[in-house]
Amino acid sequence: MEPIDMKAAQAAINSFANKDVYIHLETTNGAYASHNDQSFFSAGAFIRNALVRYELGKITGNGPFRVGLKINLGWIYAEGITHYEMDEDNHLLLAGHDNAGKLAVALEISSTPFE
């Protein structure tokens, strides 16, 4: 993955607008967060292969970045995005990694279902 290039990431987001797309969205502190620090409140969410359509998608912020998708009946957004990649399967991968290189958030967009 590469550090976010706003222009390129925005162009990639635009390329999936107004068509059926599959979404992977996750946030995570890792399964060991509360084990390693008992005062830590661990929370996260995960959805894979949600089928949606967005009319408008936007990347904003000064880094880490935020990405919002205005979908047919609502919204999808992710914050803390640091890296992006268009992979060989034509998935747009957006992810936020902490300083240790651990994934904290991921938002992925594809025209075909994720594996």
């Binding site: 890296h83 290189g101 991921a106």
Partner: protein
């Protein structure tokens, strides 16, 4: 370590076998005991992507699958089974179906010893759910033909609630194999090794104790 007829190891993630169990596995293999490793997921939800990132969410499972195969090769495991579940979803599977899947593997492998996680004392929900499914599967068997169950536990409260482990394996004859198995899971363990390299070289007593002692709780069935 007692000589077993055959050993079945059941864990949810590639690398679960590496830290606390791979010395025991390597010892059984050295004794000529067939070892089967059933690994439920490919650790798809691993978080370590590197800085700068060396992989991404979609590619990570492909890397971890190869690492798992390499670890099995290093340990001499002939029968590696990847069961195709998804990381962090084991506890949400149908419990009865999952137990039946485990039973299917147990009946086919016919082990005298099963190694898995201690349900309720293994921190990660996948660990607890995997251990629970194995317990449930073994409970379906008549008591007189059940294999022994050795469980790994490491929650903060485990010793308080289930006591000290009753099985302590000194695996120092196979330390090198164990370290190679841990290193095979490079995407997960490389960072940790950087911090440990010096201590391993100096044979730091604390680190060597951690590496060379593998601890298990023998599970007592209520049913």
């Amino acid at each position: 370590m007692e000589k077993e007829r055959s050993v079945l190891v059941v864990f949810p993630h590639p690398d679960d076998e590496a830290f606390g169990v791979s010395g025991t596995i390597a010892t059984h293999v050295k004794n000529g005991t067939p070892v089967t490793y059933a690994c439920l997921t490919l650790g798809e939800m691993g978080r370590n992507m590197g800085n700068p990132p060396f992989t991404n969410r979609e590619n990570l499972p492909k890397i971890r699958k190869e690492e798992l195969k390499e670890a099995a090769r290093v340990l001499g495991i002939q029968d590696l089974r990847m069961l195709g579940y998804r990381d962090k979803t084991i506890e949400f599977e149908d419990e009865e179906k999952l137990a039946n899947k485990m039973l299917e593997v147990i009946e086919e492998v016919n082990p005298s010893l099963i190694i898995t996680f201690y349900p309720g004392y293994s921190v990660h929900p996948d660990h607890d759910a995997t251990g629970a499914a194995v317990v449930r599967a073994v409970e379906k068997m008549p008591a007189d033909v059940r294999p022994t169950l050795h469980c790994v536990a490491f929650s903060n409260n485990c010793v308080d609630e289930i006591g000290e482990p009753d099985i302590l394996n000194d695996i120092s004859p196979v330390t090198e194999i164990k370290l190679a198995a841990i290193q095979a899971h490079r995407s997960q363990t490389e960072q940790m090794f950087i911090g440990m390299e010096e201590k391993l070289k100096e044979q730091d007593p604390q680190v060597m104790k951690w590496i060379n002692n593998e601890r298990f709780w023998t599970y007592t069935f209520n049913k």
